[in-house]
Symmetry: C5
Subunit: 303 residues, 5 copies
């Protein structure tokens, strides 16, 4: 995620990092080349007696804009839902720790539980980004659960199972009545919702045909556009054509970037910073020293 809060409107026009320009630069250059070709061929082209007029391109451009608006909505909804799930993760973990602190008194047990909560967040991050999470597991998971979590093919879900186990133990030991147990267990259900929701977003893309149809129509539209513009605009064709192409290509490209909000491109969610924030807050709640807060790097980038 790019963090760039209070910039002057004028300087924003020239921001490079965090825009989608790097991704579409090549296609924009192709469009520029097409425009120059269109300008050069104009005379020969007019003798041919055929001409592309702007009218069908207006119709097509507006139709594509409407469909692109739909796809942006769909991608952004995935991004928003992903962020809400990570928000719910923090909320539920705070609630769980508050509940446990308010009814139990054994400090060591509470700390073990909070370690498992923190491990859950990091492990979910590794699962969503397909990275190796064993270092974080070893650092955080209490010894008595480490073996089964580390050996499981689904360590995040196994952590949840261990928390259920830990909770059942407290109940069997008589430290929790059934009613209190149920109240806490309901929040474990919510953690399960978060995990399942993130998995769903990560594993089920927007139907591939949407991506294909828009990818193709946007590309073909931008490629043919210079030939429709050149009879009226002559030397101004490259300027206008590249401008219109920029509008369409950049939104198509951003929609694709946001479709997988757990990736590591500049507009994706900063999962590392979110996990770091969870760890800081949970440590503070049990009055233990937590890690340093992550700061954006030189490009205002949080990962």
């Amino acid at each position: 995620m790019i963090v760039r809060p209070h910039q002057h409107w004028f300087f924003r026009l020239f921001v490079w990092h965090g825009s989608v320009l790097p991704d579409i630069l090549f296609r924009l250059s192709l469009n520029l080349v097409m425009s120059v070709i269109a300008v050069i061929c104009l005379q020969w082209y007019e003798q041919l007696g055929v001409r592309l007029t702007t009218a069908p391109f207006s119709l097509l451009g507006i139709a594509i804009a409407i469909f692109l608006g739909f796809r942006n909505n769909a991608s952004y909804a995935r991004y928003t839902e992903a962020r809400q799930l990570w928000g719910a993760l923090l909320i539920t973990q705070r609630s769980l720790l508050r509940q446990v602190k308010s009814v139990l008194s054994d400090e060591a047990e509470i700390q073990q539980f909070s370690q498992m909560l923190i491990a859950f967040a990091w492990s979910m991050k590794h699962q969503l980004r397909h990275t190796d999470g064993r270092d974080d597991l070893r650092r955080l998971v209490p010894a008595r659960y480490l073996a089964q979590v580390e050996n499981s093919p689904q360590p995040t879900n196994r952590l949840l199972l261990c928390m259920g186990d830990w909770l059942g133990e407290q109940r069997r030991a008589g430290r929790l009545s059934d009613v209190l147990y149920s109240g806490i267990d309901a929040n474990l259900n919510r953690l399960s919702d978060v995990l399942g929701g993130c998995d769903r977003i990560a594993n089920t893309p927007i139907p591939f045909a949407y991506t294909l149809i828009l990818h193709r129509t946007v590309y073909l539209f931008c490629s043919l556009l210079p030939f429709a513009l050149v009879p009226d605009l002559h030397y101004l064709t490259p300027l206008v054509s590249v401008f219109i192409s920029y509008t369409f290509l950049s939104l198509e490209s951003l929609a694709e970037e946001l479709e997988d909000p757990f990736g590591s491109s500049p507009n994706d969610l900063p999962l590392n910073a979110l996990c770091n924030g969870i760890e800081i807050i949970l440590c503070e709640m049990i009055d233990r020293p937590g890690p340093e807060k992550m700061r954006p790097d030189g490009n205002c980038m949080l990962t």
Copy 2:
């Protein structure tokens, strides 16, 4: 579902499988034929003194694009809801198994319950795809419930009833207090929500008149389009006309495909893979060997 994660943008332009091209190819060909007829008849057509201009077609095209955007939204919302329900299925089954494991201790009973959970997923798949699920039921449902499930006209709902029965038995045997029973029963209610939600999507299409109106207007629009384009575009009519028709026909066709997300076309939900995933995860949670993970076939296709 087509799985095709990190392809280069250029090669995407030529993907065949998973696009809706196979479905609309015939209609696109018809449009091409119409365009060629329009080009051939142009001279005779101009002598007639009547001409279709682009203006009313622009208006109509944009109006149709707006309505098509609405229909795409409606179809995509069904697809998304269906996927969310299957996500909730996995989440709830994991929660149920965690709850049961954390408060009961009889391994055999727990395994029977997990078998019923897995059977519920497969049985729901068969119900939604109208296939014969008896093999899966025989493979999974514990012996004491098999007869009544197999003989029921609604085996999926009957499985839920059996789970309620199993749970009531644990309560009557004194292994669960009423409070713990209620906590687990609440998750059975959520399974019932999932089943009812999927049934609703499968049985109630988008009102048929929407499909009809858009089907007709899109088709008639694409058929008349060449005659409106030909006075300006001459030999370029087929190119532009097929391009515009592709945009409209492909989105209309995809909207129809997504309307029934439980079908087996390339953009529908991969119910087999989802059930397989549920089975693997639930088996792992009780430390039993599960099935192999399904992989996409040669066409990147998961069923």
Copy 3:
């Protein structure tokens, strides 16, 4: 509701029943007459020195399409919510019966309760369609509650009250602990949600002014359209004008039809079939013979 699942795209173009054509045929004919008048008067009209151009009609048409898209969204959201409420009805009734079966053992009591559940669905249908439901009440409601239900001005809500009464009785008789009672009572609350939600949709239309504004602008737009098209299109005016009018009028007409999803036009919800389905499923759950399943009539129509 029209049921017409896997028809070939070509034959769909000519479907009559279930389309909104019957409703708008008269207005389309008026439009045809207007178009013919416009063609006939063209010469005289051009001498007048005034002409309607297409440009303001394009602007107006697109604006109306945008507002019509908004109204379609609103109507379709009502339709969808109505269907979800009836889905929640089935889900909650199944859950209630499962809960009752799993904690009670008296077969006769359970059957009485299931009768009341079925009666609730039928009674709600009669209330929403303003039909006389006394036959269904007499057929289904257990004798001890029949009198008060039949005499109540709100029989559906009274049935809910009787179920609450029945449940309270089981609790007072010691067959249900308070905790179990609360779990079942929560589902009675959901039945109350369903009833209240359906009532709300039936009693509060979309603000009447929306209907009026779009009704008027669509009608006036379609009436003036031929005069704007005729200078360019000459003899083709009737074709294009009727086509554009069909697009706008049919969507406006369908939006009005869906606004009251409990009516009995072809695109409304098949409440009879839904009630029949509920009765079949609940009967099967307590192993009693249920009614026959309703099938679509000759016009693929479910009521």
Copy 4:
């Protein structure tokens, strides 16, 4: 709210009451005057060598239509939410009374509680419409709570507090176990949600700048429109200009009317009728005579 269910489409074109015509008539007349001025000045205006063309007005009109669509969505969402909150009010009150009737037996206590429920609805109505509710409070609130409710600056919230008090009393008197108490208390929380939700809608309008921007652009657009239309349309300018202005002004005006759904204009919610309905239904549930049902007045108007 205007109630006008099954009118013929033709007569709807001429409905006056309940349309927004009365609100925009003055602005429409201004537009008519502008159009006539444009027609008169045409000759002089053409000699000036400048002309407003339709093209930039098409662009502007469509852009405004898109933004107006957004604002209509926002206003209608507020209207819908307000109606849902009042629906939830009835649902929750029915559920509360059912719960209380099913577990308590003292008729007098139950009746007092139902009186407070009815008073809650009327008091909320007075609060939302800024009217004096003391008469209704005196008529409905039981004597032992009347003083503190009447003297409170927030009588509606105070009533909720009294219901909590009443419920706590039943619990302390041993008539309700803690579990039953909690089940009923959860529904008091829902009443609190309804009250808070309505307050929020009433106190937080759509950001004022949206209203301003659309108000201004719609008005300026309609004022300049005749000058853009007159070069093509001549004597027909007033007709087309007033028609287009009607479309934009009426939707802008309706959006503003719906923004505050608790007002008393013809398209707002009929709070009196809703309260009256609640009173009838709750009275019927405890077999007491209720008030007469309110009927629409001569203009089909429910307040």
Copy 5:
């Protein structure tokens, strides 16, 4: 927030404060300068043989309007959600106080709890606006919790922890059964939801690339527009160009303002007034004198 309820439509046209005019005035002036340059250079520009036509600008303008509509939706959704969270805060705090009052009897304890609720609201405000909240904490937090709240880097969350602590104490002292404790604890979970939700909105902006793309395209579009309009409009170019630019720039500027609803610009949420309202209501509920109600300042502004 600007409060300006029942103004006449005519005077609204000239409102200055609360509109976004101050923010975009400079850019509008630039546009005016560009328009004048375009008018002056027209002759020389026409000799050049190139001309920008309106057609590609219509296409571009409508596409930008569609994307701007999307961005407005996203920003407004954040604003609405933020307001709903603050609504839920008040609702939950009222419910908590009602629950506590209905089951506990120690006035001093209840007052301490209500102080913590009020402190929670103020502390959340300070956290969201990055202001120093220590004065409010000292004024409100009971002495026994003040030290740990004041020293915590997350005072708002720490307050929640203290409330959990307070509640656990009541339970351990036998004043609350486990069931009652759970019912109140569930509302503490909702407070946690509110805090987490507000944090999420404050810390995760709409992906920066959306802001950039629209910022750039809107700016470039408005800058080039005069050159496209001038060949047709001549001396009227500045008027029309500034009008169109106003429409686009003001909506883009407002979308940016609403993106951070916790700021202190005129269209943001009045957090001070909301906290003040909460304090008044909670004080009234325990019959204590509360603060004065905040009134809008001279510019109808609530902070």
